[in-house]
Amino acid sequence: MPAISRRRLLLGSAGAWVLAGCSRRPAAELPQVSITLAPAYTQELYGSLRRILSEHKLEVRGQRVVLKPNLVEYDSARPINTHPLVVHAALEAFSALGAAEVRIAEGPANRRNTLELAEAAGYFHTIPGFERIFTDLNLDDTSLIRLRRPASRLDSLYLPRTVLGADLVVSIPKMKTHHWAAATLGMKNLFGVVPGGIYGWPKNILHWGGIDGCVADLHRVFPRVFTIVDGIVGMEGNGPIQGLPKAAGVLVAGRDMVAVDATCCRIMGIDPQMVGYLGLEETQGQTREEGVRQIGEALGRVRTDFELLPAFAGVRLRRA
C-alpha cells in the first residue's frame, strides 16, 4: 500500500479541516484558552460543555468529529481515565452543534481488551449505544504517515484512518502528572491514536523514539485538534496510573494544544517551560502566561499544586 505523506494527507483533507478561525489567525491574536469551574461530575457538565464550545465558536455542522478520551487501565480508587460523563457531555454538545457524526475512539496502551476497560470505566453505563459509536484505534485500519522533519527518532508511523479521516479530532485527556514526561494532557493523549495492533501493548516504539519528540511529531501530524481537559478530579504523584486523586475542579479547553497544555501545567503548579514536548512545539510563546488569551476563571484562583515525584522537583512553577 502506498504511503500517504503528511502534506498530501493535509492537502487532501484541507477542506474538511474546518474549525472556525483556525484557517488564518492574525499574528497578534493570542490563542484562546478557557478555564471553566466544574466542581463535580454532575449533570451540570452538559450545560458547561455547550457553553465551552460556544465560547470557542466551533463550527462543526455536517462534519465528522472524533472524541479521543484517555482510557488506560481501571482502578476504582484512582482517577486514571477521562470521566465518561465529560465524554458524553462533549458528545451531546457536538451533536447539538449539528455534527454529522460524533464517534468516540481510543487505543489504550497496556490492556488489549478495550471494551472491557471501557465498561469498567463506566462508558457503557453512561453513554447510550457506546459500542455502536466506539472505534478501538488499536485495531483500526491504518495508513503510513511519513514524518517530515521529525522531532523524534522515528521517520514514519502507521496511524488509524478513523482519526486521519476526521474533520475534527477532540482530545479529552485527564489532567495528570506523568512519571516520564512531567504532565500528560492534550498533546500526550495523542499517544492513544498509535495502533497497538501494529506496535504492541504498550506502544513501546514511542518510548524508544523519545517521548517528547514523539508527542511533538503527533502534534505536527494533527495540528488542529480541539482539546478539553478533564481537570475536575485529576491525578498527582506517580501518574499516569499509580498516582492519587487531586481535585482541581476545572475544565480547560482551546484550539491551540500547546496553549491548553501550558495553561493546565500552570494550574497544576508545573512550569510549562520545563516540559520538554511543549518547548518543542511552542511557536508563539504559548508556554508563557502572557502568550495566551485566557478566558473564564482566573488562573490564580484555580491553581492547585499537584504533588510531583522527587525526580520532577525542578519543574515546580514558582508562585508570583
Partner: protein, 291 residues
C-alpha cells in the same frame, strides 16, 4: 451465553473474509485473528474449506525475511510471526517454518542487547527491570514484553515437537527466565512492567494465563504463588480472553479450574470466540498451544 458458546465455531466460519483471513471485529484481515481462528478450527477438529482458505491466506502472508506483518498494509514483520508458527506447526513439514524460526530467533528485546546495556552502564542509567534475559518484543527494535515472549516460547516449543536444537533451547530458557523476572508482586503478570518509580504494578488475567502456559513444566516449585494468583483472577475475570488463557494455563499445570462465573462473559472479537473454542478443547485434553 450458552447459545453464544455453542455458536462460537459457526460464528467464526461466518466471520471469515472473502480473502480467507479474519479481522478482529469484522473488517480487513489481520494475521493475529486469522491465526487464532485457524487454531480454533483445528481445536474443533475442522478440516474443511474454511481452514484451507485461511491457511492459504496465512501462508501467502509470509514475507521475504521469514516473518509476518500484522496485516497486508504493514511493511514490517512483527511478533505475529509467532502466531503464524503456532498454526503452521500443526502441519508436519510446512515449508514456511524454517524461515519463520530464523526470524523469531533473530529477535530479542532491545534492552537486553550488549550495546544497549553498555550504553546504559556508561550513562549511569539504572533499570528497574532485570535486562539480562532475552525476551521478545512486539515490534522489532523495541523492548521485550510478556505477551510476545510467552507466545514465541509456545511457538518455538510447539514447532520443535520435543526435539529442540541448542540455540532454540537456550532462547526458550532465557525467555522463561525473562517471564519469571517480570512477575508482579501478586505473583501474576501484567504487560511486563512490574515496577515504576518504585511502585508495584498489579497483574492482569490474560497475561498471567499466557505467561503461566509458557512456563508449563518449568520449575514448578517457583510458580505456586503465580498459580494461586491465576486461580484468584479466574474467580472475577469476565473476559473470554482472560478466562480462556487462565483455564489453559491452570490445566497445563495440573490444576482443575473451577468456580468462575460462566454466564456473563464478554465475547467481543474473533479472538474471544476462538479462545473459547481452544480452551474448551484444552479441557478435553487437546491444547493447540502445546506441542
Amino acid at each position: 451465553m450458552q447459545f453464544e458458546l455453542s455458536r462460537a465455531v459457526p460464528s467464526l466460519r461466518d466471520a471469515q473474509n472473502q480473502d480467507g483471513g479474519w479481522g478482529y471485529r469484522g473488517g480487513a484481515s489481520w494475521t493475529e485473528p486469522t491465526a487464532y481462528a485457524l487454531l480454533a478450527l483445528a481445536a474443533a477438529g475442522e478440516r474443511g474449506e474454511n481452514c484451507e482458505r485461511g491457511l492459504a491466506w496465512l501462508e501467502k502472508g509470509q514475507r521475504g525475511d521469514g516473518g509476518w506483518a500484522p496485516n497486508r498494509s504493514v511493511d514490517r514483520s512483527t511478533w505475529v510471526t509467532a502466531m503464524a508458527v503456532l498454526v503452521l506447526a500443526e502441519r508436519t513439514g510446512a515449508a514456511a517454518l524454517p524461515g519463520a524460526y530464523g526470524w523469531l530467533l533473530a529477535q530479542s528485546g532491545r534492552e537486553s542487547g550488549y550495546l544497549q546495556r553498555f550504553r546504559d552502564w556508561l550513562l549511569g542509567l539504572s533499570q528497574e527491570q532485570n535486562v539480562s534475559y532475552r525476551g521478545w518484543p512486539w515490534y522489532p527494535g523495541t523492548s521485550s514484553w510478556v505477551t510476545p515472549t510467552a507466545l514465541t516460547i509456545l511457538a518455538l516449543e510447539k514447532g520443535g515437537r520435543g526435539r529442540l536444537d541448542p540455540r532454540r533451547r537456550e532462547r526458550i530458557e532465557s525467555g522463561r527466565e525473562f517471564l519469571l523476572s517480570r512477575r508482579c508482586s501478586d505473583g501474576g503478570w501484567n504487560h511486563g512492567a512490574t515496577r515504576a518509580w518504585g511502585y508495584s504494578s498489579d497483574s492482569y488475567p490474560e497475561t498471567t494465563g499466557q505467561a503461566l502456559l509458557a512456563l508449563a513444566g518449568f520449575q514448578e516449585q517457583r510458580l505456586e504463588k503465580s498459580l494461586r494468583c491465576a486461580e484468584g483472577h479466574l474467580q472475577t475475570c469476565r473476559s473470554a480472553e482472560g478466562r480462556s488463557w487462565l483455564e489453559m494455563a491452570l490445566l497445563a499445570h495440573g490444576r482443575s479450574p473451577s468456580g468462575f462465573p460462566k454466564d456473563d462473559l464478554t465475547l467481543d472479537s474473533a479472538i474471544d470466540r476462538a479462545l473459547i473454542v481452544v480452551a474448551g478443547a484444552a479441557r478435553r485434553g487437546k491444547n493447540v498451544f502445546l506441542s
